[in-house]
């Protein structure tokens, strides 16, 4: 059976046993080169299938994921879904999405040549060695090709074919006894035409890694200004997403639960989720079985949407969001980054936040990594042993400038953002 036939067979089996159901079959092919501590020494290839089955008996729900797609494996999994659903409790919020127009989507390269990947990585290693000799790069360059088939008992059928390269890993610099902080990155690339070192944030991160060899702690404690790099913006936008998503809203813990259509951020802030945009990686349908659409979550500071799936929507009474979140884009501002830095009396440029899981209230506290101290409009020195704490709501409300410059990693596209109200404490 091909994948489409597999999905149809699984749905047919589910329909016999359950009141409503959905199936997603995925086939994933991967080629992966791994360079560990500057040594390119592993080539991985794999080909995998997975099958996700969800079934409802009345409003009782059960779900099974397996990675075998033989008829016998499917029949056994369907029987298990039936048992799981029967064991569950009635919950009227459980539903299978209604019929939607059947669609097929396709994006990205259809195959990858290992010689081309190897050459790209080798050139990257040589460029690193030449321009940043103190840096030890750990890099993984992966080509992945996935085929997904989603079918449900209400007649919906989605098919997607996606190919992409992922460049990810970490940089670290050493010089004598000095060691830099780890600097991590992940880029989603549609081709390998541009040298890897020129992609998105890579050169900036390499430069920063070298700078981080000579850090010093910050004396004392103050409440200052903070400029978030696009990497740091990503952390805070994901934190925000967590407190306006399913679990936070169902449990009632979200500090923004009553803020729909109200101001939660600076008028400078517009946050979009763009799974269908060419700008960032594409996701054609949600894990819950809806066609994904681009949406605006925050419009000029006003919260326009929660990020809710069908169950959470039914549970909370709020509108289901048009996608599952992620693929975030913040349009750029009007200021040059250097001009923004020039306005900071006392603060930090934050690239990475190493912190605990934020509280349900949006409070965060942790260590500023790969970051710099700014005083009188100038970057003074890279930081060590500096902690920051605050609340996501303050970060959003206090935004006062967005840079013209943006970084697009393929996962997100963000500018640098200046905000304030964060407690910064040194040794």
């Amino acid at each position: 059976m091909n994948l489409k036939e597999t999905a149809s067979y699984a749905l047919k089996c589910l329909k016999k046993e359950l009141d409503s159901s959905s199936v997603e079959v995925k086939k994933l092919h991967k080629k992966e080169f791994i360079m560990e501590s500057g040594r390119l020494n592993l080539l991985k290839t794999s080909s995998h299938s997975s099958l996700s089955l969800t079934g409802l008996s009345g409003h009782k729900k059960g779900s099974i994921n397996i990675n075998k797609i033989t008829p016998e494996a499917i029949e056994e999994a369907v029987s298990q879904v039936k048992t799981f659903a029967a064991s569950s409790r009635e919950d009227s919020a459980n539903e299978i999405p209604p019929f939607q127009e059947n669609k097929e989507f396709s994006t990205g390269p259809e195959d990858a040549e290992k010689e081309k990947m190897y050459t790209a990585l080798k050139e990257f290693k040589e460029s690193c060695n030449r321009e940043f000799p103190s840096v030890v790069p750990s890099v993984s360059l992966t080509y992945s090709r996935s085929e997904n088939y989603y079918l449900n008992s209400n007649g919906t059928s989605f098919i997607s074919h996606k190919g992409a390269y992922i460049l990810s890993g970490s940089f670290l610099a050493t010089e004598g006894l000095k060691v830099s902080s780890l600097n991590t990155y992940s880029l989603h690339l549609s081709d390998l035409d541009t040298p890897l070192i020129e992609q998105a944030s890579i050169r900036r991160k390499l430069k920063d890694t070298v700078n981080q060899l000579n850090t010093s702690p910050l004396p004392g404690k103050f409440t200052g200004e903070i400029i978030l790099t696009p990497s740091a913006v990503s952390y805070y936008m994901n934190l925000l997403a967590g407190i306006i998503s399913d679990s936070a809203l169902i449990s009632g813990k979200s500090p923004l639960k009553h803020m729909l259509n109200q101001r939660i951020g600076s008028p400078l802030l517009t946050l979009k989720s763009c799974p269908r945009s060419e700008e960032v990686t594409s996701t054609y349908f949600t894990a819950g079985g809806f066609e994904a659409e681009d949406t605006t979550i925050i419009d000029k500071g006003i919260l326009k949407e929660f990020i809710l799936g069908l169950y959470a929507s039914n549970k909370t009474g709020h509108k289901r969001s048009l996608n599952s979140g992620g693929c975030f884009v913040i349009p750029p501002g009007n200021n040059n980054l250097m001009d923004i830095i020039g306005t900071v009396k006392k603060g930090i440029l934050l690239d990475r936040f190493s912190g605990g899981t934020p509280t349900g209230n949006g409070d965060f506290s942790g260590v500023a990594k790969n970051s710099y101290y700014i005083e009188d409009g100038k970057i003074q020195h890279p930081l060590s042993e500096t902690m920051i704490s605050g609340n996501i709501k303050d970060i959003l409300v206090n935004m006062k400038a967005l840079s013209k410059e943006t970084e697009n990693t393929g996962h997100y596209s963000f500018p640098w953002i200046q905000t304030s109200g964060i407690t910064i404490s040194g040794k």
Partner: protein
């Protein structure tokens, strides 16, 4: 698949080769305010092959474990290794290791229960919370279990089978304080299938009572003062310190990358009171929570003494780093899924107990904190670490004071370990959640309570 059924593939091994068959199964059930929000299982099984040719590695994996696919992945992994070795300037290097044979099954011998029984069990816990914890605004009860079943055959002659299940129960209690959530999470469970914990209701109920009391104290919590402070880290946190602060920096792959530990072998990195060991499978005559007798490269697992009385003694290795650094691999190479290659991972890492009594340790602090519960943590190549502390108390003039709001603590591992002046004589172990390093991994952490200085983040 049995080990014997793999023997026929040995003749296809041209270079150093590992052939592993693995099944990873998880079950997740979660109740949020009594509603079942997760009722699912996930099973990923398949075969993988890893080949080494002159220091270059090839890897291939497949979900299908029939003859044709296993033959294919052996050929593909060999081809991948040959491709890299033909491109890169590599030289022949013998991989250290002696063949070992072992078979361990930690699966339950009891009759397996149904999904319904598990849901009913969680419902019982949820009912207990509803009845005994008045004033909650939200509650979550979760069971998450994982089974890792592996069969390994290597060209150097190692053969092993291991079935290692783990089951954890999580409960989160939330109250509202002026419209803001205040919460606490409790975790129980450990090695073994669900059936091993079915009779542990009373233990879970007792833990719920304790956590509910802590939550009530947390409702009146005060902010901790930011800055460097004297603290007692409860044994639960000391284990994370061992894991995050020193453990990761002494993984040899990280050392080769340039971690801070690279220049400190056989040098003083901690107080004389501190000894840290990564135990393979046994601690003080008892089997560890994540016992590893043979790793996923077929190395015999032995304890690795990381720090002995303050001196950094050893790094943790896989075959490759052991070859590069002229050491012996001691069973730290582990892979999470069948589609993953083995990486250097900790197993059961602990600070060893000392001679002090916890009450004397608290009495010795004039102005500081007793930090009793841990959240997540992270470590850096520089030795700087952080972890969140969701529950703690003030210590004033040697006595416990008010509860404090959630904080994050940080420090430079060696500085913090050098600041240790007291180590308690009791220790505890925990296995829950996953350690992340390109792949997730199950492991355990342990330790006594320690008195040290850390940086407390706060407003």
């Amino acid at each position: 698949m049995t080990l014997e059924s793999l023997y026929k593939y040995k003749e296809l091994f041209q270079e150093y080769t590992e052939l592993r068959i693995q099944k990873t199964s998880t079950v997740s059930i979660s109740l949020l305010k009594g509603d079942i929000v997760s009722n699912r299982s996930n099973t990923a099984s398949g075969a993988c092959c890893r080949v080494c040719k002159d220091g270059m590695w090839g890897f291939s994996s497949t979900a299908e474990t029939d003859d044709e696919n296993i033959t294919r992945i052996i050929e593909e992994a060999t081809e991948n290794a040959l491709f890299l070795s033909s491109q890169e300037k590599s030289r022949k290097r013998e991989l250290p290791g002696t063949p070992v044979m072992d078979s361990r099954d930690y699966g339950t011998k009891k009759t397996r229960v149904s999904q319904k029984d598990k849901i009913d069990f969680l419902k019982e816990i949820d009912n207990y919370i509803m009845t005994n914890c008045p004033g909650l605004s939200s509650r979550t009860v979760t069971m998450f279990s994982i089974d890792l079943e592996k069969t390994l055959l290597t060209s150097e002659g190692s053969e092993s089978y291991r079935n290692l299940p783990r089951t954890n129960f999580y409960f989160q209690l939330t109250m509202d304080k002026e419209g803001k959530p205040v919460e606490i999470t409790g975790i129980t469970g450990g090695r073994g299938h669900f059936e091993e914990f079915e009779s542990s209701r009373e233990t879970i109920f007792k833990s719920i009572d304790q956590h509910y009391s802590m939550l009530l104290e947390k409702m009146d919590a005060v902010d901790a003062e930011a800055g460097i402070k004297d603290v007692i880290l409860h044994s639960d946190l000391a284990g994370v310190l061992a894991h995050e602060a020193m453990g990761h920096t002494t993984e040899a792959d990280f050392v080769l990358e340039g971690s801070v530990a690279k220049d400190y072998l056989h040098k003083k990195v901690a107080s004389d009171l501190i000894s840290i060991t990564d135990f393979a499978h046994t601690f003080q005559g008892e089997e560890c929570l994540i016992p590893i007798h043979v790793d996923d490269e077929g190395n015999k697992a032995e304890d690795v003494v990381i720090i002995e009385k303050g001196i950094l003694k050893n790094y943790m290795h896989n075959k490759e780093t052991a070859a590069l650094m002229n050491q012996k691999p001691k069973g730290n190479a582990r892979a999470f899924n069948y589609s993953d290659e083995p990486l250097i991972r900790m197993r059961n890492t602990a600070i060893l107990p000392g001679k002090d009594k916890l009450e004397d340790m608290i009495r010795s602090i004039k102005d500081g904190y007793f930090l009793v519960k841990r959240g997540n943590g992270q470590a850096d190549s520089t030795g700087e670490f952080m972890f969140s502390v969701p529950m703690g108390y003030e210590i004033k003039e040697g006595k416990l004071g008010k509860a404090i709001n959630e904080i994050t603590i940080s420090g430079i591992a060696m500085d913090v370990l050098k600041s240790v002046t007291m180590v308690s004589d009791e220790m505890s172990w925990r296995t829950a959640g996953f350690c992340g390093k390109r792949q997730p991994m199950v492991l355990s952490m342990g330790g006594p309570a320690i008195k040290c200085k850390v940086n407390i983040g706060g407003k």
